[in-house]
Subunit: 121 residues, 2 copies
C-alpha cells in the first residue's frame, strides 16, 4: 500500500490534480471541514457537473474521500498525497534556503557600500 | 516580481511541469549540479529533441535556468517555484500529522487489547 502510494505514477496524478486553481480552492475549502458537492459549488459560480468533474479528478488522485454514511456523501480532505508532495519538495529545501541566503548577503553588501558612501560625504 | 511568482497561474504551471517523471528526474539530476542537455539526456535513453521539450516546460515554469556564459548553455535548478510548492503544501501539514497520530493511537489500542487477551489466557 505504502509502496503503491509512493510510486512515480501516484506523484504524477497528484501534481496533475493540483495544477488547477479550482481544485486547489476545493482543497482549501475542505481544510476547514467536510462539505457536500452543493456546498463546494456555491463559491465558484460553476455548475454541479463541472464541480463533480473536478471532484472526480481529486478523488482519483486520492486527495479527497467521499463519505458513505449519508445520502449527500460529504467530501473530505485525504492527507496521504499531500504528505508525499511535502516529502518530495523537502529534498530541495537547501536550494531555496541557499538562494535566499545569497540574496540576504547581497543586500547586506549593498547596505555596507551605501553607509560608506554616506560617511565619505 | 514576487506577486507574479506567487500568482495562481504560476502554481498551475509549476504543478503541471512536475506531473511528469522525466521532468522530476531532471530536477533530481540538477540538484547535484548544473549539466548540459547532452549530459541530461544520457540516463534517459531519450532523443535530444525529446529532452529539449521537457527542458522548455521546466524553463517556462521557472524551475530551471539556462546559463549564457558558455556555448553549451548549462541548465541549473532554480529554487523559487519549489519554495512556492513547499509553502503551499505546508498549509495542510496538520492534516497528515493528525491522520498519522490517529493511526498511531489505533495501533496502540490494538496492542493494549492484545496484551489483555494474552493475560486472560
Amino acid at each position: 500500500m505504502v509502496n503503491r502510494r509512493m510510486s512515480p505514477d501516484r506523484l504524477n496524478t497528484t501534481f496533475a490534480a493540483l495544477a488547477d486553481p479550482t481544485r486547489r480552492a476545493i482543497i482549501a475549502r475542505l481544510a476547514s471541514g467536510e462539505a457536500s458537492v452543493t456546498e463546494l459549488a456555491e463559491p465558484f459560480e460553476m455548475s454541479l457537473p463541472a464541480i463533480s468533474k473536478h471532484l472526480k479528478v481529486l478523488q482519483r488522485a486520492g486527495l479527497i474521500a467521499r463519505g458513505r454514511e449519508a445520502q449527500w456523501r460529504p467530501c473530505r480532505l485525504a492527507a496521504g498525497p499531500l504528505k508525499e508532495v511535502a516529502d518530495w519538495v523537502e529534498h530541495y529545501r537547501r536550494f531555496w534556503e541557499e538562494s535566499f541566503d545569497r540574496l540576504d548577503e547581497y543586500l547586506r553588501e549593498l547596505q555596507r557600500k551605501e553607509k560608506k558612501r554616506v560617511h565619505k560625504k
